[in-house]
Symmetry: C2
Subunit: 296 residues, 2 copies
């Protein structure tokens, strides 16, 4: 575990360096918009999605890896993730004041700017992704995966059902699986799938990685649900217990803490079994372990 | 003019038919989200952006035109346009209750759903665009144009400066040109440029069309500013005079009605002069005429 923590730390620093290159303080567009985008983008975060894409790409590409192929694609995933967080935190949605230990975007820049900064991050993610030196066929495939997994059948669809479940106080096994698979697992799976496409994976490998990705993604969200119940505010970067208080439909709510822990562990093991069928996936397996064991 | 009105009417009906095909009532994703997306998408509108893309594509492609190449691309522009309108109307931004004669999205579905419906339309626009049978090279080029012209240097950047100008009550010749070129002209130019790329235009033609597109786009927004002062609520589909009351930075505010009319006419003439250098652009010229003469 200490090795993988070290790996994740180094990779996070690398992603952060590239964010500074791709969206520096000075550049095109209104400076206040740029400031609002950078504020949330640089407010911390584990960079799990870009790192999954990079790690998967490198597992497949081996010695022939090129930063100019994968980094614009990987960092664009963090732009998109940040866009969903900014909009999620808005007063009309989750109404969160704190994110990663800092005031949320709308608390600092106001609601109008937070909405537009989210929109801008999303649009600029495509701008950035298209700067990759991958060939057009692969870029199109990646965009197809991304727009499908983020769209109405993926992240945004999951967010809508999440809000509905919270409002209607309807939460059961089917509902929580539906929300978690879409809101979180689709994006985690997409990050791995996109890395695989960028690396030129064959059909069989791609299928295995997608299956493993779904399980890792689901485990990731279950652990998020657990941490919301068990973490300290310092570890979490926001007030713990907020899911329960706001009536969110979580794995812990449906199955309790003990079963949630068992499910996360089981899903991780199933993912590792799948990854064992693919060479050079040691680090990916390590990340899966980390995701289940993390305390933040 | 009656010919071009007939043409625009027929083409609008065609675009509307394709929207029904691409986003039918029943399909993937939460039904309420789909309903909110369809509500604004089908609430009317001239469909100027898709029509400009289709018309430009056909001018270049001639007999070899294929609906399966251009329609997904053209309709995706209306998804994006609708996304910007839904977010623009939100209480935190323009706070509009009425759009195209109907209650705005957040008035019907609430703010949370309006934010997510806007996000979803934007994401699904890429999903749709990528269904085009154009080759990958052209799809990548089109997405590059789009994400650049909608991003921080284009539409979203323009929206931010628009809000700043309204709040700070700063409005002069430079400011209004900056806002209008980004908020409106970039998208109109992009629609023409995208049609041209889809049709396989050569570099010289592309350059001329982009120049003409900027002028048509600027004329379009100037006429919008004029109509906000001079239209009836029935023609406009919303309360006239709102720009002035809310302190918006408009062409009419800076130059007055008479000069605004002259500028729109002049820009249109300059665009027509450019289009005269390209064969088969009669309909495009007709649309430019319509844009300046329209009363809605």
């Amino acid at each position: 575990m200490s090795d993988i923590r070290e790996y994740l730390k180094k990779r996070k620093e690398e992603v952060d360096r590239y964010i500074e290159i791709y969206l520096p303080e000075e550049g095109e567009g209104p400076s206040l918009l740029r400031k609002a985008m950078r504020y949330s983008l640089l407010a911390g975060g584990k960079r799990i999605r870009p790192i999954l894409a990079i790690t998967t790409y490198e597992a497949i590409k081996g010695e022939n890896k090129k930063n100019e192929e994968i980094m614009p694609v990987a960092v664009s995933l963090e732009y998109i993730h940040t866009f969903t967080l900014i909009h999620d935190d808005l007063p009309a949605l989750d109404n969160d004041d704190l994110r990663r230990g800092k005031p949320t975007n709308h608390k600092v820049f106001g609601e109008a700017m937070a909405i537009l900064a989210g929109d801008a991050l999303f649009i600029e993610s495509f701008n950035l992704l298209l700067k990759s030196t991958l060939n057009s066929e692969n870029l199109v495939k990646i965009m197809q995966v991304l727009s499908h997994e983020i769209g109405i059948s993926g992240v945004i669809g999951g967010q809508v059902v999440d809000i509905e479940a919270e409002k209607e106080r309807t939460c059961d096994e089917d509902r929580v699986k539906f929300i978690h698979e879409r809101k979180t697992a689709s994006f985690i799976r997409a990050s791995i799938e996109i890395g695989a496409v960028a690396g030129g994976a064959d059909e069989k490998t791609l299928k295995l990685l997608k299956e493993a990705g779904t399980k890792i993604g689901l485990a990731f969200q279950i652990v998020d649900d657990i941490l919301d119940e068990t973490s300290t505010p310092e570890e979490l970067g926001k007030t713990p217990g907020k899911d329960r208080m706001s009536g969110k439909c979580t794995w812990v709510k449906v199955y309790g803490l003990k079963r949630a822990r068992e499910d996360a562990e089981r899903l991780k093991n199933e993912a590792v079994d799948l990854l064992n069928l693919i060479p050079h996936t040691e680090i990916l397996k390590g990340i899966a372990e980390f995701i289940v064991k993390r305390t933040y």
